[in-house]
Amino acid sequence: QTIKIGVNEPLTGAFAASGTYVVNGAKIAADEINAKGGILGKKIELVIEDNKSNPTEAAAVAEKLITSDKVPVLMGAWGSSLTLAVMPKLIEYETPMVVETSSSGKITTTGNPFIFRISPPSAVEAAAFKGIVDKLALKKVDFLVINNDWGRGTAEDFSKMMKDKGISIGLVETMDQGAQDMSAQLSKIKSSDSETVIVTTAVDQLTLIFKQAAALGLKKRIITTGGSQNPDQIIAQAGAAANGTMHLTTFLPWFPDKTPNPEATNYFITEWKKRGFEFAGCTESFRGYDGIRTAAAAIEKAGKAEPAAIKAALWDINIKGLNGDVVFRKSGPEGKESGQSQPNVYLIEINDGKVEMKTL
């Protein structure tokens, strides 16, 4: 007899790499919990399904997990459109889901009371960045963002925040997810009169951007947002081109001591390495780890593996996640609020191929 948790992640298709990382993090959490005896005296069992990076599939997977596998709680579904596609199913079957990665503001504002998100939407990130902005003495910034909800949302929320601080906004350039050549956008940015570029995209495109910016002789300060940077991968792949770049991140695997829960961080990193995964994956996978721990904590608190009880319990948990306290606050229309927790945000810098904590 086990307690099942449904995991709805992209394991093939465009987001396969990230989805796999998240699942690996989730497995570490499950194994850790089970090693300590499980919850409510039972082992937990992850039912992992591939949503193929496709919204239709994501919805179908949710349906399967809830109706066939009878999981009382889900974690998923990485991308925002994947999560959004799942959401009607949550209402239909009254089953809660812990959202570990998606950043679209819509997820917690449309009135879906079964959503509990631990990743920061861009507005939260922007708010956290507010304090740092002054110290960086920014004057004018350009944006280069991935053309999806995440990039667009970041550009919007950061612009708003910066305008309030009197910083002027220059270009807002986008790139398609999967685009490989950003030279045209970077050439345009190169000849603009701003001194900083805010870049939001996944790690692969970041690598390309750094390399291509270096090739074009772009000498502006680059700050990335979104917490998907994998600085180690960037250092490994972009080499010297990554030097001097700054990254806004939510997790500090390089400095376990500076994280809110050093013990858990150390455990997680040791386990991650022990399983032979690339260290670079940590910054993505920790969300899977936190997500499962969140779900497990809620089950424990609920005292039974039933959706309604777990949903109620999610409001009451308070665990120390790898990137801060997971405590859900209400967000969205009254009476149908979703839960949103506030993670920590840090700024790091890459210098001489090493990650440094930026002390400001």
Binding site: T12, E49, N54, P55, T56, A60, M87, P88
Partner: protein
């Protein structure tokens, strides 16, 4: 005999929700059914006019967006300071508008198809779909771009005198898709067996000859494109109201490829082909899911596809028909095209 088989098949399909209780499988059947409708519409172009549209998803997506926007309402600024405001209409109006607008787009693409053929038509359709996708992605004010249109209402059928019936349950949606599919099937069947269908076939096989006996290329191809696009638009609308969220990813190339797989594996140019191919390749992933790793599922999917074509190279329905029903006397054994006027054919 044929009528009996048809009735039997329809009855069997209609009975499914009565005994199939698993919502997951029913859900798979509904989404498959929606794609089957899309595949049938693609077959009208590919199988009966020989024009391969690798951008067919554009019509499907346009249908989905039109339907969603009609039922959600929007408020956009147009050049010149004009604001276009639309208050939400009932979804059924969205469904009809989706058919209309998709058909209209089909008309324009059809006009293009008068100028280009074969590979060139293929790339124009791919390009069209890409441009539409990029508009959907970048015209944020209207489509919300990558933020997706959410909370799309379910279709509600107006019942005169009683009110309306909102189709929320799986069973209701299943029957909705089934009815739309049947109507589309009948429409296509009638069309291709009429004299328009013959004109299409003539154009497909030897265009020079066809026009020389008075067949109007533009009219015939446009007609096929309009009807095909309209049906695809209907499927898109069903999709939007069933999945209830729509984002520019709906235009993804892989979705077109899925329809192409359904059509050709089932047998292009046969009416039942896309239905059979569609059911197989719509449900195959469901069958593979529990038995192997995610990557392996895709490999198996590709492998099944190849295997089917190796055994039945003309597609399931035509190849089986040829084998079991009546060996068509004297089908040209050597490629007969080489003997005829238009000689070297461009790739489709």
């Amino acid at each position: 005999m044929r009528a009996a088989v048809t009735i039997l098949v329809v009855a069997a399909l209609a009975s499914v929700p009565l005994w199939l209780r698993d919502p997951y499988l029913l859900n798979a059947l509904i989404t498959t059914g929606i794609f089957v409708v899309g595949a049938m519409s693609l077959n009208l172009l590919l199988g009966f006019t020989g024009q391969l549209s690798l951008g067919h998803i554009a019509f499907f997506g346009i249908g989905a967006y039109v339907s969603a926007l009609t039922s959600l309402g929007f408020d956009v600024g147009l050049p010149g300071g004009v604001r276009l405001v639309h208050a939400p209409w009932p979804p059924i109006a969205g469904f009809l508008l989706a058919i209309l607008v998709a058909g209209l787009c089909g008309y324009f693409v059809g006009l293009l198809s008068f100028r280009v053929r074969g590979a060139y038509f293929v790339i124009v359709t791919i390009s069209f779909a890409e441009v539409v996708r990029l508009v959907a992605l970048n015209w944020v004010e209207l489509t919300q771009g990558p933020l997706a249109l959410t909370n799309i209402p379910s279709i509600a059928l107006p019942l005169p005198g009683i009110g309306e019936l909102t189709l929320r349950t799986k069973m209701q949606n299943y029957y909705l898709v089934l009815v739309v599919a049947l109507v589309a099937y009948l429409l296509i069947a009638r069309l291709v067996h009429s004299h328009f269908g013959r004109a299409m076939r003539g154009l497909m096989e030897n265009e020079t000859l066809a026009v020389s006996v008075g067949i109007d290329v533009t009219r015939t191809l446009t007609l096929a494109a309009v009807i095909s696009a309209a049906i695809a638009g209907a499927a898109g609308s069903l999709y939007a109201h069933y999945i209830r969220i729509i984002d520019p990813e709906v235009f993804a190339f892989i979705n077109t490829v899925t329809m192409v797989i359904m059509v050709i594996s089932g047998g292009k140019g046969s009416l039942a082909g896309p239905v059979i191919g569609g059911l197989i390749f719509g449900l195959l992933p469901v069958a593979l899911r529990p038995v192997m790793a995610p990557e392996a599922q895709w490999i198996a999917y590709g492998g099944v596809l190849i295997a089917i074509l190796f055994v039945l190279p003309r597609g399931i329905v035509p190849s089986l028909a040829q084998r079991f029903i009546r060996p068509r006397s004297g089908a040209p054994a050597l490629a007969p095209v080489a003997l005829t006027e238009t000689g070297a054919k461009e790739p489709a």
